[in-house]
């Protein structure tokens, strides 16, 4: 806005006129070549000549306002000019979106992420205190049944280990500056975080591979069926003792987890891909366009922006990547809980792959029936060691 500099001008002008007179007296002898000091004698003469400069008027009365002032407003709104250097993105003089990104990153993202994660831990702790460890009601049978083959466990642990390291190195980026840095000092923290970045970049591929493996292996077992409704109606027996709704290989809870991991994992991989190859794989404008078409704009009450600058693409990718990561961390905390201290006998499924028969009968009754039927034709159940 032209008003901006005019108003900036009128205030100091009075002071300036006085200063100019003083300065003229003292600096008249100094070299005019010293561009960074001294004042133009001609200007002082002009001012002394009694020209009135007030009320927002501009001395000289030439080109004081538009059309150029219009352009500066557009520049402040992110107008891209031309540059002679190869990176044409550098033609953007001001990207005000950076401020929004900063406010989101340092504001809600940092604030709420920790509440989501801490909240999940508190909920799990309360669940543990109230419900306690879910025991095998019939006790261990002494006989085991193969729940997950070696390759299934490999896929799971590839995904799990990479996820945990990705999560920790990611959280370090968000909170390390405030928690870890003061504890270990800037040098050690800088080194750890740098390695964290490398590990985060490379392990992302292990994560994606793990995700692909479990998708191929387990998608068919995670198609919803009629048992899921029963399981859901009884909340899986999680909150009621002696309740063991039937399930096949995976119960409804596991299916929800599976699809959350798959959808969340694919989305976090895609946004991560955008971040890994900066500015090369913009995805958000297209995604927003599809979401608008699907009616999300109606739900939100506004249209999602479908024209984004390359910078905005990166900013959205970073924010979405982080939001999704926090969500998945919270979900996986629940998964880790129920797969370890939350339930007796559950860890064996992914540990040795051999679960106790009584555990299997309580939690995956239909699956056990199916397995023992086919096993009876092939081999006998392996005896416990």
């Amino acid at each position: 806005m032209s008003r901006n500099w005019i108003s900036r001008l009128t205030g100091p002008l009075a002071v300036f006129a006085v200063l100019a007179v003083i300065a003229f007296a003292s600096l008249a002898a100094s070299s005019p070549a010293m561009a960074q000091s001294g004042l133009d004698p001609k200007l002082v003469q002009e001012l002394q000549g009694g020209q009135t400069l007030q009320g927002g008027s501009v001395p000289g009365n030439v080109e004081g306002t538009s059309p150029i002032s219009e352009q500066w407003r557009d520049v402040r709104r992110g107008l891209r000019g031309t540059v002679s250097i190869p990176d044409k993105k550098a033609g953007v003089l001001v990207q005000s979106e950076g401020e929004n990104w900063r406010n989101m990153h340092n504001g809600p993202l940092s604030t709420y992420s920790i509440w989501v994660i801490a909240g999940m831990i508190v909920v799990l702790a309360l669940f543990f205190l109230i419900r306690g460890r879910i025991r095998i009601e019939q006790g261990k049978s002494g006989t085991t049944i193969t729940r997950f083959k070696d390759f299934e466990r490999f896929g799971h642990w590839l995904l799990a280990v990479s996820f945990i390291i990705l999560a920790l190195s990611g959280l370090n980026l968000l909170y390390g500056r405030y928690w870890l840095l003061p504890a270990i000092g800037p040098e050690a923290f800088g080194t750890i975080t740098l390695w964290g970045k490398f590990v985060h970049n490379y392990l992302s591929f292990a994560f994606m591979l793990g995700l692909a493996i479990i998708l191929l292996m387990w998608a068919v077992h995670n198609i919803p069926n009629r048992y899921d409704l029963i399981w859901m109606s009884k909340a899986g027996g999680l909150f009621t003792k002696h309740s063991h709704p039937p399930a096949r290989k995976f119960n409804a809870g596991q299916k929800v987890l599976f699809w959350l991991v798959i959808l969340g994992g694919v989305s976090i991989s895609l946004s991560g891909w955008s971040l890994l190859f900066p500015f090369e794989y913009p995805m958000f404008a297209k995604t927003f366009e599809i979401l608008n078409m699907l009616g999300f704009n109606w739900i939100l009450g506004f249209d999602l922006p479908t024209t984004l600058t390359p910078m905005q693409e990166m900013q959205f990718a970073q924010l979405w990547h982080a939001i999704l990561a926090v969500f998945l961390i919270a979900v996986i905390l629940g998964h880790i809980y129920i797969g370890s201290i939350g339930m007796e006998g559950a860890f064996d499924a992914m540990g040795s792959g051999e679960v106790d028969l009584n555990w299997a009968k309580e939690h995956h009754s239909i699956w056990v029936e199916e397995m023992t039927e086919s096993d009876a034709e092939a081999t006998k159940p392996a005896p416990a060691e």
């Binding site: 001008l9 960074q36 001395p59 059309p67 031309t82 993105k89 990207q95 970045k197």
Partner: protein, 197 residues
């Protein structure tokens, strides 16, 4: 203590790119890195104006605020500097910076960024003044030599001004008054909101 600022007078900049070249030469900046650049709006049309832009050494610097390793610091003169020993090249400062100042050499695989590089207001970095390490990482420390940034020092039209913010703005005000027009101290509203130092 003087508060160092850049000011580019769009009515004077002739897009000669000498500031860019001077900067590259003075600090021996590698290919692909531009601590300073000249942007032209309305190129070839009426109202064409050019602005030379680099790090504006903001009062409430967004880069400092978002850096995950807290590698930035601001000198008593308001110059925003950073430590390349701590920088991990995550790109966050680039996402936050309104002026597109941070630059990254591409190193290694994918689009992985090296240590961030940006305008230092010719003030070096955390290494000892005039040390080889300082020059290698951050370039010349002209401020410690008692000189101002080279880009502005050698600007042929004196479009680009660098130095004590009060002096720089006084010169610019003088120009506006004498010639009767100007497009404002470009970027100052963004870099120094509320006129804060």
């Amino acid at each position: 203590m003087a508060r160092m600022k850049f000011l580019c007078d769009a009515e004077r900049c002739i897009e000669c790119n000498a500031c860019v070249t001077a900067c590259k030469n003075e600090h021996e900046i590698p290919w692909g890195i531009n601590r300073r650049r000249v942007v032209t709006i309305n190129d070839g049309n009426e109202g064409e104006r050019s602005i030379s832009v680099a790090c504006m050494h903001c009062s409430d610097a967004p880069c400092m605020a978002v850096c995950p390793v807290d590698c930035f610091y601001q000198t008593e003169e308001g110059v925003v500097l950073h430590s390349k020993d701590l920088c991990i090249g995550c790109g966050y400062c680039f996402y936050a910076c309104p002026f597109g100042a941070p630059q990254y050499p591409q190193v290694g695989n994918f689009g992985s960024r090296g240590k961030m590089d940006k305008c230092t207001f010719c003030a070096g970095g955390p290494e000892d003044n005039f040390s080889d390490a300082e020059f290698q990482k951050y370039g010349r420390n002209r401020l410690a030599e008692g000189k101002l940034p080279l880009c502005a020092e050698m600007c042929s039209t004196k479009a680009l001004l660098a130095g004590d913010g009060d002096v720089v703005s006084a010169i610019y005000r003088e120009r506006i008054v004498s010639r009767g027009f100007g497009s404002g101290a470009w970027g100052w509203g963004k870099a120094y909101p509320g006129g804060a130092s």
